[in-house]
């Protein structure tokens, strides 16, 4: 039972454009959502998070949007840079419980 889903395994975006990565979840009890970024041969690194009491959180070029009614969140990166090329994982948690990760989306930003 995949509670957190990232239906796009890959995404290719031109440098300077917006990258939009999507994530859906099934468990309405989740109250915290996070995005992690992973480069090859490295562990995931925390990028940005959002609490279920909010619908938007912004940090520089990164913005996460949460639509609770649709059980959907998205990560926007603008402008996209070649260094953003990595695998992005969506994760969700209930209270301070364990993280449940999606399967990841590989983002490639080309010049």
């Amino acid at each position: 039972d995949q509670q957190v889903k990232q239906n796009s395994p890959s995404l290719s975006v031109q440098e300077g454009r917006i990258s939009i990565l999507n994530c859906d979840y099934t468990n309405s009890m989740f109250d915290y959502f996070l995005w992690y970024k992973k480069y090859p041969a490295e562990g995931p690194t925390f990028l940005i998070s959002i609490s279920s009491i909010k619908d938007k959180n912004e940090d520089g070029r990164f913005t996460v949007f949460l639509n609770k009614s649709a059980k959907h969140l998205s990560l926007h990166i603008v402008p996209s840079q070649p260094g953003d090329s990595a695998v992005y994982f969506c994760a969700a948690a209930r209270n301070t419980d364990k993280l449940i990760f999606g399967t990841g989306t590989r983002l490639q930003v080309f010049p």
């Binding site: 562990g43 925390f46 994760a91 399967t103």
Partner: protein, 116 residues
């Protein structure tokens, strides 16, 4: 060191053998997590320690898997009678264990286990 350190970085073992994977968390972090990432999948939760005790071991797939953290710092994940299906990258993460713990979870680079 400044980050979470995992050793070895790579481990190849024969089916049926016993392996130990080590995690050195960030100094002072009370919470420690083990995750497993198979090819094409996201990290899958295995076990979570708060201090020396396992607060949640619901992700351990079967009794061949066991983890310890005897002094509340270094943790060892132990796999008995390894099977080819155990091949994956095993990730360790640590956090301060305060507030919303997961936002402060720092991951190590992982141990790639290959069972042949």
């Amino acid at each position: 060191g400044a980050g979470v350190s995992q050793t070895p970085s790579n481990k190849v073992t024969e089916k049926g053998k016993y392996v130990e994977l080590r995690c050195d968390p960030i100094s002072g972090h009370t919470a420690l997590y083990w995750y497993r990432q198979s090819l094409g999948q996201g990290p899958e939760f295995l076990i979570y320690f708060q201090g020396t005790g396992a607060a949640d071991d619901s992700g351990l797939p079967n009794d061949r898997f066991f983890a310890v953290r005897p002094e509340g710092s270094v943790s060892t994940l132990k796999i008995q009678r390894t099977e080819r299906g155990d091949s994956a990258v095993y990730l360790c993460a640590s956090s301060t264990g305060q507030g919303v713990m997961n936002t402060e979870a720092f991951f190590g680079q992982g141990t790639r286990l290959t069972v042949v």
